[in-house]
Amino acid sequence: MSDFNFVRTEMLEAKEPPLTERGVVKWVRENLFSGWFNTILTLVSIYVIYLVLSSILPWLVNGIWIADSLTQCREIRDTVNGGEPSACFAVLTARWHQLVFGFFPQDMYWRPILAFILLFVALAPVLYDAAPRKLFYFTAVYPFLMVWLIWGGSVWGPVMVAAGFGVSYLAYKLVAKFSELAATIIALIAPIIWWLFFSGAVAGIIQSVIPISLYAVESKELGGFLISVVVGLAGISLSLPLGVLLALGRQSDMFIVKTMCVGFIEFIRGVPLITLLFTALLLLNYFLPKGVNFDVVIRVIIMVTLFSAAYMAETIRGGLAALPKGQYEAADSLGLDYWQAQRLIIMPQALKISIPSIVGIFIGLFKDTTLVIFIGISEMLGFTNAIRADTAWNGVYWELYIFVGLVFWICCFSMSRYSQWLERKLQTEH
């Protein structure tokens, strides 16, 4: 035993891992250079990033924001920036209002801006639980307020349209004492009669007594981002309920109802949106009685709504199919009738399952609002052409496209982020 002349009595301090196994170096080794294939990928990626940045970054940084025309932009580029490639963002400084508001009268920009700000107030209770519940009253009023702010005219027009719902409620209450069924039918018919025959006249009478009105803006003066928001918003809020109804119709046991829903859904899904828009533009005059004419924006909204409702129906049908049969049976065993079961048990769960796809359809709808350019409404892309038609800006492409793309990207990306947040919030699984 005497061979051992030294025995360590205390433990060695733990050494730090070698340089290649810690910190940044380790991360780089594991994530970027963990094998020959990975190394190639990294090098290619770096090259691509270099290529893109080296061509775009100087162009962006040298961007010229103040100039009267493209020629002046080029002069500034040659004199100030020494001929380096420079973006001519001056076109945005000069023409941003057209891209955003279209031909909306310049002194009334406060109207769409106010409508846009109020939009968030109206959306707050829908999007966040924390918002005060009382705001729902404002949400209910908002559509009429928005129509009035944007199109202007007498305030009594939208008010009388809103009153139609009040008429419906009153009629229901009056008749419900005698017969539930008759009340439901009357509640459906009364507002239609009101809208068709009375609302216009009554609005006119009240307007002559208490004139409150804004300068009326015609639909053809709307354009740019404004028209995308109007069409997108209307389409989104109308297509969800319609989609739910279509999905329920397709799931129902009633053969005729089911066949009609399937036929409608498959037809709409089978043709491009652009053909539907052309139908709205060219063929509606054939289908409607002589003299009946719709505003072109309303035509577009109807078509866009029908189009997304068909897709929505298929999505919600997927959600319905994913629900276990036990949920339906449980609802039946509680003695709930069809609509109660749908409202309280089936739909909340089915809609929750389909949130990502529903928001995907919303995003698609919003992007599809660019197609109105083909039926003569100038949305943002239409204005990029119009601006280029001006000799001062002939030849400006990328600055305009980047602006339009960025606006859409921000809207769509925030929608998809919101849906992911909502999905996480509603998650009840472990």
């Binding site: 594991e30 994530n31 970027l32 963990s34 990975n38 990928l41 990294t42 290619v44 990626s45 770096i46 691509v48 990033i49 069924l181 046991d253 009633m254 053969f255 005729i256 109802v257 009609m260 498959e266 037809f267 899904r269 089978g270 043709v271 491009p272 949106l273 652009i274 053909t275 052309f278 139908t279 060219l282 063929l283 005059n285 054939y286 289908f287 409607l288 009685p289 002589k290 039946d332 069809y338 995003i363 992007k367 599809d368 660019t370 197609l371 350019i373 083909f374 892309l381 492409y397 990328w398 496209y401 339009v404 793309g405 859409f408 990207w409 769509c412 990306f413 998809s416």
Partner: protein, 405 residues
């Protein structure tokens, strides 16, 4: 939903139609049907009245009339003396062409991006995320127009290729020219005897299929695995190449060359087609990437671990365990993306590509003034295309469906 009710003891009353669940659904359906039929009748009667007021009739006879306009890209013989029907047919083929090529390119881009987005390489995964998020969240119409602007504004004019010291030069060993008038690529010239080479090539495809079957049977019988990929590659290339030289090189390439103010020879691919094709492919590719990623993520990690536990190599795990299961999740959204691509190809109007919408639903409609007939016919054609694609999808879904209890 079944509701048990006592058999009626009293005679039928009218209110039973509404309050009795046995009759209610019938009542609703009859009302719905009457409403539907009367709506249709109303629309048709309006249409008839309006057509009469305009002095028009409903007649597809215009299809056999001389079209009188030119189509710059055509896959079949067409001139301005051809009929409107022929024009619509050319447009239809153009739609199918861009849709077919778009589907192929979109699949390649989408699968690559989807797989790379899951890669362990941080940089590549981020890059692919940027690609997917930027293409998904910007309207396809903007992409089409932007690609067209790149091709027509960002590329040199043919005259810049001229002179001693040209400003632009042809790519790929002087075989391809990208100009603002389109891209010129070599086109094959088929001489006598080339048919034999083509037949050999087709036969070798048959050979690959036969070899695949043989190899599978052999593996199941003996357990040996042949180097399938290399053998198939050899069958793919060697016989056709041999025959090509035996027949004395009957297939040659016709290269584009600068003549006068423009390129001549070779195949001229128009910018309108190229922009539409690339934009649709990259746009749809970003959606396909998401489906592919979701499909691969949907397969639980236990499958990979179980396969490793059985001693399978990673490549084999991917091919035999993960992909067959992931494909079941990926294919349905993939096909609906193909459907979307086909429908989005109708945006060709933005760059002047002459597809079905631009011929039948565009120029023909404007020349003849037959809005109703043209639109209905066009919708019917799109409907047939869509329904055939979704028919294929349903067939596939049924064939791979997991058989449940």
């Amino acid at each position: 939903m079944t509701t048990l009710t006592d058999p009626p003891t009293e005679s039928f009353r009218l209110s039973q139609l509404i309050y009795d669940t046995r009759y209610r659904s019938m009542t609703i359906q009859v009302v719905a049907l009457i409403g539907f039929v009367s709506l249709f009748a109303w629309l048709i009667s309006n249409t008839v009245t309006n057509l009469e007021a305009l002095g028009k009739d409903f007649d597809f006879g215009f299809l056999s009339v001389r079209a009188g306009y030119d189509i710059n890209q055509r896959l079949v013989e067409y001139s301005s003396d051809s009929t409107h029907f022929r024009a619509a047919y050319v447009g239809f083929l153009n739609t199918l062409l861009v849709a077919f090529l778009g589907c192929i390119l979109a699949t390649i881009i989408g699968v690559t991006a989807g797989v790379l987005r899951l890669s362990k390489n941080w940089l590549t995964a981020r890059l692919m995320t940027i690609y997917v998020e930027s293409f998904r969240n910007i309207p396809v119409l903007l992409w089409i127009i932007a690609f067209f602007a790149v091709l027509s504004e960002g590329t040199p004019a043919p005259r810049e290729f001229r002179g001693e010291n040209p400003a632009a030069s042809m790519m790929l060993n002087d075989s391809m020219a990208v100009t603002n008038r389109g891209t010129y690529i070599p086109t094959p010239v088929w001489e006598a005897g080339s048919i034999i080479v083509v037949i050999t090539f087709l036969l070798s495809l048959l050979g690959i299929w036969a070899f695949g079957r043989y190899s599978k049977r052999r593996q199941q019988a003996t357990g040996d695995i042949l180097p399938n990929f290399w053998i198939k590659l050899a069958i793919f290339i060697v016989p056709a190449l041999l025959m090509f030289f035996i027949m004395g090189r009957p297939i040659s390439l016709d290269y584009p060359a600068l003549k006068g103010f423009n390129f001549a020879g070779g195949l001229h691919i128009r910018n309108s087609f190229l922009a539409l094709w690339l934009a649709l492919s990259f746009y749809t590719g970003s959606f396909i990437a998401e489906s592919v990623r979701a499909g691969i993520l949907a397969i639980s990690k236990g499958q990979t671990e179980a396969s490793y536990a059985l001693g399978m190599r990673p490549s084999r795990t991917m091919n035999l365990v993960i992909l067959p299961q992931a494909l079941r999740v990926i294919i349905p959204p993939l096909i609906s993306q193909y459907l979307n691509l086909t429908k989005n190809s109708s945006l060709a109007i933005a760059v002047g590509y002459m597809d079905l919408r631009a011929t039948l639903g565009g120029t023909t409609l404007n020349i003849t003034g037959r809005e109703l007939e043209s639109m209905l016919l066009m919708m019917a054609i799109y409907l047939v295309i869509s329904l055939s694609i979704s028919g294929v999808m349903n067939f596939y879904n049924n064939s791979v469906k997991l058989v449940g209890r």
